[in-house]
């Protein structure tokens, strides 16, 4: 498709409204993003034993993720190779085999075709079962989180996460075993483009005080001052924003990990007891991350809030609808009571009836559907906040923005989104590895800011 430069204007930090509306943009996303990127499938904790499986989606493709007898994982397309029916309709379970409802073809835990009813009498030795296994999907894990990818040319998962691993290790590896996911996922439909929640989670600290004014007022705690944007806060010193080579990014609010949780004694205690281990293992820069709150998206369609610990996959359903799946992230080695309490609070705030989530859904629908007007759709959207107050940082990888309220990671997300749409293949993307961050021209922002800070008299 020509003209994707018009969809995203990096220099002026704006996007065409067509990115939320047009069917042809969506088709290109399915082909060039969802068919080529690593997509979140789940976590080891959801399929702990051989034979365990879950069914999920990669964009609109139905997928089975299955734990093998040797402990490894396989994923394959959940569609019979005979006449195309969906083979497994359960959300999860344990199965020795998957049997299609239509004609009874039997597929093994590894997706291979192992039995065909009345094979000799009907096919007379003419059926090559070895060629009729379920279409396999690349599966790799990082710190227990399981991803799938359709593109054999895509980099390894670790390279795809890239610089983001440095950050993720802080919480996914953690002091002693990191995080796991608690299901089953809550599921709901939301009439919005998949990128609206993704961009919101990747970098929108700005909406928190206004959109969630009522909830923050009710919850109280560290973020109550943000409610209604009433407090006069020095935003530049309250957090940071980050964006990576492959569009992943997050915003950090310092010392606010558990701010959204009302009942949080167990989790606060856990973090206090383990932060020393983080300092030892990863240094003070990442201890800062460990006790902060993250709003995060992993490109393209997985988001989480570390601290609040809600974990989302936004499965696209055409350009104007998504299916929202909500898990909870919990520390693997916390006690059961603490895990349950984290799950309760995470769902209470960001589940299907969440005190904050319900505010967001309304905005996301509105930001999508307003663009059905032809004149409206000719307009553009602005993401310029903090545009020159960001750059490479001597400590933190990627591009770092000065405040958690800013749009650094929006810009990074759409930069990579456009790169993926334009690139014919992963070789073309790799060719940009050394120049991807050239659009951030204020290269001396952080060195100058940090040395100016050092020159300030200390209190």
């Amino acid at each position: 498709m020509n003209g994707s430069a018009a969809l995203v204007d990096n220099a002026n930090a704006s996007q065409s409204r067509r990115v939320f509306w047009d069917q042809d943009v969506y088709q290109l996303e399915l082909e060039r993003i969802f068919s080529r990127c690593w997509l979140m499938l789940g976590h080891d904790s959801l399929v702990p034993k051989p034979g365990d499986f879950i069914t999920t989606y990669m964009a609109e493709d139905r997928v089975i993720l299955s734990r093998q007898p040797d402990g490894s994982l396989k994923a394959f397309i959940n569609s019979c190779t005979h006449r195309g029916n969906q083979i497994c309709h359960a959300d999860s379970g344990s199965a020795k085999a998957f049997v299609c409802n239509y004609h009874g073809w039997v597929f093994g835990q590894d997706g291979s075709l192992v039995d065909v009813p009345m094979e000799e009498r009907c096919y007379h030795s003419d059926l090559d079962k070895s060629k009729l296994g379920l279409a396999p999907i690349r599966v790799e894990t990082y710190k227990g989180f399981i991803f799938g990818c359709h593109d054999p040319e895509a980099p390894s998962l670790e390279d795809y996460l890239g610089d983001f691993c440095w950050y993720l290790d802080t919480i996914w590896d953690g002091p002693d075993g990191g995080l796991e996911l608690l299901g089953p996922p809550l599921k709901s439909t939301l009439a919005c483009n998949w990128k609206v929640p993704t961009e919101n989670f990747v970098g929108d600290g700005y909406h928190v005080g206004w959109t969630h004014a009522a909830a923050l007022q009710m919850i109280g705690g560290e973020l109550a001052g943000l409610s209604g944007n009433r407090a006069d806060m020095p935003f530049d010193d309250l957090g940071l924003q980050f964006t990576m080579r492959h569009g992943h990014g997050f915003g950090l609010i310092d010392n606010a990990a558990t701010a959204i949780h009302v009942k949080r004694d167990g989790y606060v205690k856990y973090l206090e007891e383990t932060r020393g281990g983080i300092r030892e293992k990863f240094g003070p820069e990442r201890e800062r991350l460990y006790v902060g709150h993250w709003n995060t998206s992993i490109f393209p369609n997985c988001s989480f809030l570390y601290g609040t610990n809600t974990f989302k996959i936004w499965h696209p359903r055409g350009p104007h609808e998504i299916e929202v799946w909500t898990y909870t992230m919990v520390p693997k080695n916390a006690d059961t009571e603490t895990k349950r309490s984290i799950q309760r609070e995470a769902i209470r705030s960001f589940g299907t009836a969440g005190t904050l989530e319900s505010d967001d859904g309304e905005n996301m629908s509105s930001a999508t559907y307003n663009n059905n007007g032809i004149i409206t759709r000719k307009g553009r959207m602005n993401s310029s906040m903090g545009k020159d107050r960001e750059g490479p940082h001597p400590v933190y990888p990627g591009i770092v923005g000065v405040s958690f309220i800013g749009e650094t990671s929006y810009r990074g997300f759409y930069r990579f989104w456009q790169e993926m749409l334009d690139a014919p293949d992963w070789a073309a993307i790799r060719a940009n590895d050394d120049t991807w961050d050239a659009m951030w021209t204020n290269r001396n922002f952080w060195p100058e800011r940090l040395s100016a800070k050092q020159a300030e008299p200390q209190d």
Binding site: D91, G183, L186, K187, T189, L190, A214, T352, E357
Partner: protein, 174 residues
Amino acid sequence: MTETRKPVGMELHHAIVSHYSAEVRMLQNQQYREWFDTVIAEDIHYWMPVYEQRFARDRRPDPTPGDAAIYNDDYAELQQRVDRLLTGQVWMEDPPSRIRYFVTNVEAFEIAPFEFEVFSNVLVHRNRRQSEVYVHTLGREDKLRKTDSGFKVFSRKLNIDARVVQDKNLYFFV
């Protein structure tokens, strides 16, 4: 389900159905505080569990209050939800949405002196932002206590008839 218990008599049944009608009228009129103060007991457990779609042969137990649940509220938590709606800062409810409830199939059983287990079906129709319409059906399992100030619910379990909720949120009371 084979039910060997006897339902309550006509007069009590009528009182419970009338109580539900009054409850619904308050919710339809956005009288959330009145609703909360009138019908909710201080030992309430307000619960909407998540039922996975599982094979019939699957032996895993049904969800407990320790598992993922869309609602899993005690008295203070439910009160916070009411408080939020009354802050005047819930933009999604301004202008307010319309909601209508239909409560049917009411079956009530006495489980202790002045305590009743009540099953009902609830249909909820929401209209928001001009033309958005959402319809939900739920099975409701209540435990009611008859007090001097009327019936109070101290346990409410809501089974929503959807694995994938067909709505942008379920932030309304049933």
